[in-house]
Subunit: 382 residues, 2 copies
Amino acid sequence: MSLGIVTPQSMHFQEPLKLSSGASIADYTLVYETYGTLNADRSNAVLVCHALNASHHVAGIYVNEQGETTSVGWWDNMVGPGKPLDTNRFFVIGVNNLGSCFGSTGPMHLNPSTGKPYGASFPVVTVEDWVDAQARLADALGIRQFAAVMGGSLGGMQALSWSLKYPERLRHCVVVASTPKLSAQNIAFNDVARQAILTDPDFHGGDFYAHGVVPKRGLRVARMIGHITYLSDDDMAEKFGRMLRNGDYQFGFGIDFEIESYLRYQGDKFSEYFDANTYLLITKALDYFDPARDDDGDLSKTFARTQAQFLLASFTTDWRFAPERSREMVQALVSNKRHVTYAEIDAPHGHDAFLLEDPRYMRVVRTYYDQVWRELRAGAQS
Amino acid sequence: MSLGIVTPQSMHFQEPLKLSSGASIADYTLVYETYGTLNADRSNAVLVCHALNASHHVAGIYVNEQGETTSVGWWDNMVGPGKPLDTNRFFVIGVNNLGSCFGSTGPMHLNPSTGKPYGASFPVVTVEDWVDAQARLADALGIRQFAAVMGGSLGGMQALSWSLKYPERLRHCVVVASTPKLSAQNIAFNDVARQAILTDPDFHGGDFYAHGVVPKRGLRVARMIGHITYLSDDDMAEKFGRMLRNGDYQFGFGIDFEIESYLRYQGDKFSEYFDANTYLLITKALDYFDPARDDDGDLSKTFARTQAQFLLASFTTDWRFAPERSREMVQALVSNKRHVTYAEIDAPHGHDAFLLEDPRYMRVVRTYYDQVWRELRAGAQS
């Protein structure tokens, strides 16, 4: 069952937030959604962290004045009444991160110190900064400890970061299709995407808002590149193969193959709604995430700081954050005698699999949250 | 030993060339180089076909007036006196393809019918068109049958095409790191690169020559994307990993990681010398290559037309044209009882491995050409 119509809320924070870069952000707003009911001892809260292209709108729907659905939450198959993360049991929070373009303070908002949009002057934010901002939201909502913090891909990095920065504030950490750090190839793809945006003449050094233009060409190419890395080679082969749009080669530079049509469409759509500065910021947060960096890359040493129990899941055809990356984390957690459940799901859909309905994947998450729920009730009764 | 200084030659063809698209090119020039000596019965010629970014300058060096080396042939480790393809034995020909930007007639040349550069009006050419043009060059040089036609990647496709279009004109076909057709993912990467060029405002619909500008931004991004696909994930990890340029994160959009510096440099360099229209044409030739297309994708049926003996080689970490693609060809050839030698080289360098010095790879090619040479001498004596 779906949650039905949901409504975003927002909270303003007056106290400046010190960032990893040394800069700080004077004051800011976070937009968030909640589903389900916080129990009396505030022990059933689950924070769901979003990845690159998503937001606080995790589950449920938005409708327009005519009552038509305009938007479905990005993890609506995962979160809701009776869903794997069951909102009849848990109080689920989705929060839009700082620097995003879906409501929380970001580059397109006015910089209070200049009265103009932040643009290029919006500070570079890290996964750790996001987690700090999320922790303040948790404080404001009166949540001392989460039953779980959960995310996929970049969202998984935030869950990991929670387990390291605030180890006592989560009982469970659910990390799907993620990695403890980006590889050179991951960074390379991100940088090409950034270069496409940065060199678009309509980018104007990040201050395109004042020029009344949007660097759509750059965003479009950036999204096309990203999209290729979200899908598996096999999945693309099966869905598109060498299928032609018009029956035969056109001998020009329009559309020949269906895959071209699909990617260009995805790129066009993305360039209509996504903010170019946000894209730069989020890819940078991805690149910078490397919690073992201060431990000479020794993930076992880093994970010694964790206290939570872990569920990790990866997908066999994910070549962006391959199962090896998850296994590396599992090993480092096991070496610290942490309680870890690991599922490697044989799914054809590449990195995108973490967003898709796969019965085995859903069952793993459901079973895990059943256990979280049993613990929670046992704790309440004891 | 290197060939030393070599000099390109050129040949003009007056007779129009009918192209796969149905269009034709009125008259054209091919630039080529030859190394070694054609024997009396003209049986020791080997044609070496180039890939995307290369030319007729296969081996040897160019020098400037001061006698300094300005350019080394792209397969100088493979071709020369005593090299795997030994120019003491074979008469080797490198030829620049139609539509390229290294001397043969291409988009930057004057269209005789308009007196202006071809630009966007240069016809889309295919691998088969290139092979037809090469066959005319062979005719002009008096070569009825090649001892071998050889190439890597897109060059391998030309060798394959020779074995299908002119089966009686080559005794051996040497196909390295190639594929019988591009996958959806391959096409996707090509199309993103093309979109980066096509949407660069300096592209001017392909007629940028008249505007005195070059779509460098698009070319740069296109090359960066391409370059990622030429290297293996492991190789990038080993060479660059997460190495930082300046010791610490810069919290900006300049260069943080060495891999960014490397890719941007490669992109910049490429955008200085490569022609944008040529890039479009060559990626299209790659996308269109699919010789089994008229046989309902049945490669065995297609390869029934071949008469040559084959050497195929692939590299384990090549994820652009993975070993599976070569094995598919080997199987289709074996099913036709063709004589096939296949080497799958365990090399870390991804697709680029075909250009690099790897002792096992070099030994395979050397051994193969030793055999070609023995056959050739046996033929001469019989």
